[in-house]
C-alpha cells in the first residue's frame, strides 16, 4: 500500500489557517478494477449467462412445484430418520464441544506460554476446520460402515473445530486479573482456571455450542446423502426415485424441526447472555 501512495501522490490541501494536510488517494479504483477482473474471470470460467437463466429458468420450478404438494401419507416413515438425525447432531455436538475444551485451553496465549505448543495446536485446529464436513463423513463411512456412527463422527469433528476456535478466542479476551490474583495467593493453575476463567467463558461457550447444534441439525440432513444415516438417507432415496412429493414432505418436517430447535436454543442463548 505504501507503493501505491508513491505512484499516486497524496493530494495536498491548504487549510484556512495555512496548515498543509495530505489526503491519501482513494483506493477504490484499484479495488474496483480487481473486482471487475475477478468477476470477468469467474464469468468466463463458470460459463455464467443470463440468457440461459431467462431461457430455461422455468425448468427450476418443475421440481419445486412437485415438492410444494407434499405427500402427507409419507409422514409416518419420516419420524425414525428424523430422530436419528437429531440424535446424531446432539451427540456429535456434545462430544465435539467437550473435546474442544482442552485444545482451546492449549491454544490460548494467555494460559500457555510455550510458543511451540501454541503454534502446533492452532495449526492443527485450522487444518481440521478446513477439511469439508462432507469429506469427513465420507471417510467415516469407509471406516465404520454406512450408518449414523459415521455422521456422528463427522459432526463431532466439525463441532470440535468450530467451538475450539471460538473458545480460544473467548479465553484470550477474558479479564486475567482474578486468575493472576489467585495464582499470587498460591492457587494451582488448574484451580485458578476453574474458578477465575471458567465462569467468564462458560455462558459464551454454552451459547456457541448451542448455536453449533442448531446448524448441525440442518447439516446432518446433507450428511445422509453420503450414507451417514438420518434424513439425508431417505432424501437421497426419494430423489433417486423422483418422488418429489415425498421429498417435499421430508423437507417440510425438517423445516419444522429446525424452526422448533432454533426457537428453543435462541431462548436459552438469550438467557445465557
Amino acid at each position: 500500500m505504501e507503493f501505491y501512495d508513491k505512484v499516486w501522490k497524496p493530494q495536498k490541501l491548504v487549510l484556512s489557517n495555512g496548515k498543509v494536510v495530505e489526503e491519501k488517494r482513494s483506493r477504490t479504483p484499484v479495488i474496483l478494477l480487481l473486482f471487475i477482473a475477478a468477476t470477468y474471470l469467474s464469468v468466463r470460467i463458470t460459463g455464467f449467462s443470463f440468457y440461459t437463466i431467462m431461457e430455461r429458468g422455468s425448468q427450476f420450478f418443475v421440481i419445486l412445484r412437485q415438492m410444494l404438494s407434499p405427500d402427507f401419507s409419507y409422514l409416518g416413515s419420516i419420524w425414525k430418520p428424523l430422530l436419528d438425525t437429531i440424535k446424531m447432531s446432539l451427540l456429535g455436538s456434545f462430544l465435539g464441544s467437550i473435546l474442544a475444551v482442552p485444545f482451546a485451553i492449549l491454544a490460548s496465549y494467555n494460559l500457555v506460554k510455550n510458543k511451540v505448543v501454541l503454534a502446533v495446536v492452532r495449526v492443527f485446529l485450522s487444518i481440521v476446520r478446513t477439511i469439508p464436513t462432507l469429506v469427513t463423513a465420507l471417510l467415516a463411512t469407509y471406516i465404520w460402515g454406512l450408518g449414523t456412527m459415521a455422521g456422528t463422527f463427522a459432526i463431532t469433528v466439525f463441532t470440535f473445530s468450530y467451538v475450539g476456535k471460538q473458545l480460544y478466542e473467548m479465553i484470550e479476551t477474558v479479564d486475567m486479573g482474578a486468575y493472576e490474583a489467585m495464582e499470587a495467593i498460591g492457587a494451582g493453575r488448574a484451580y485458578a482456571f476453574l474458578s477465575a476463567i471458567l465462569p467468564q467463558v462458560l455462558p459464551g461457550y454454552l451459547s456457541v455450542s448451542l448455536f453449533c447444534f442448531e446448524g448441525n441439525v440442518r447439516y446432518a440432513a446433507i450428511l445422509g446423502y453420503v450414507g451417514a444415516g438420518g434424513l439425508g438417507l431417505i432424501l437421497n432415496e426419494k430423489i433417486g426415485w423422483r418422488e418429489y412429493d415425498s421429498v417435499g414432505m421430508i423437507l417440510l418436517v425438517l423445516f419444522g424441526t429446525v424452526l422448533l430447535i432454533e426457537t428453543i436454543s435462541h431462548a436459552i442463548r438469550k438467557k445465557l447472555m
Partner: protein, 269 residues
Amino acid sequence: MNEAILKMYEREPKNWYMKIAIALLVVGLLAWSLSAVQSGNDTGEGIKIAGKIVNGIFHPDTKLLFDFTTSGVAYLLLETLCIAFLGTIVGAVLSVPLSFFAAFNLMPKPVALLFRVLIMAIRTIPAFVYGLMFIRVTGPGAFAGLLTMSLCSIGMISKMFIESIENLDIKILESLDAAGCTMFQKIRYGILPQLFPDFMSTLIYRFDMNLRDATVLGLVGAGGIGAPLIFAMSAYKWNQVGAILVGLVVLILIIEVISSKIRTRLISG
C-alpha cells in the same frame, strides 16, 4: 472466616434444584442419543482402511497436484474459487432486497415476518436438492454450481444483513433530514456508509464458507473440485484424494488469512 464473606456466601442464589434438573435433562438427552451409535461393520477392518486413508493423504499424488491442465488440481481449485466468488455475489444481490423486506424497523411486522419465514424456507432446502433443480436449467457443470451456491448463501447473508439494517443509527438520517438533504443524499451519505463495512465483512466471511462448502456440489455433478474428490474417494484412490485435499486445505488457509486481515481492517475502519 470473615463474617462479611460468609454473609455474601449466604446471599448466593440457591438454585440447586434448577441445576439438578438441567443436568438430568442433559444426561437424559445424551443417553437417548447414544442409541444412534450403531456401526455397520465392526470387524476391525475400519482401522486398516483408516491407515490406508491416512497414508494416502500423507503421500499425495504429486502428478495430479502439479498438473496445470484443465484436469489438474490447480485448475479445479480455480474453478471452485470462481464458483464461490460469483455465487457469493449473486447470493448477495438476491439477499439485499430480501433483507430490507425482512427488517422489522423498515417494514410492517407481518410483512417482515413473512419474509423471514421465506428466508428460513430457502435455507432449509439442502444444497444438493438445489443442485438437482439447477442442473435441469443449465446442465451439469460449474454454472449449476454457481447458482446453487448463491441460493445456499441467501440464508446466512440475509440473516447478517438484517442485523446490520436493524442496527442502523436513525439519528444520522434525522440530522440529514434537518439539513435539507434529498432522498438520494440521505441514502448515499446516511445509510450506505453505515451498511457497507458490515455487508462487505459478511460477504467475505460467506465467501470463505462457500469455498469450504463447494465440495457438496460435487455430489450432484455441479462443477468444482468436489466431483473429482468424491470420485477419487469412491474409487479408493487415496493418493489422489490426498492431492486434492492438500490443494484445498492450502487454498482455504490462504484465503482465510487474507479474508480475516481484510475483515479486521473493515471493522476497525
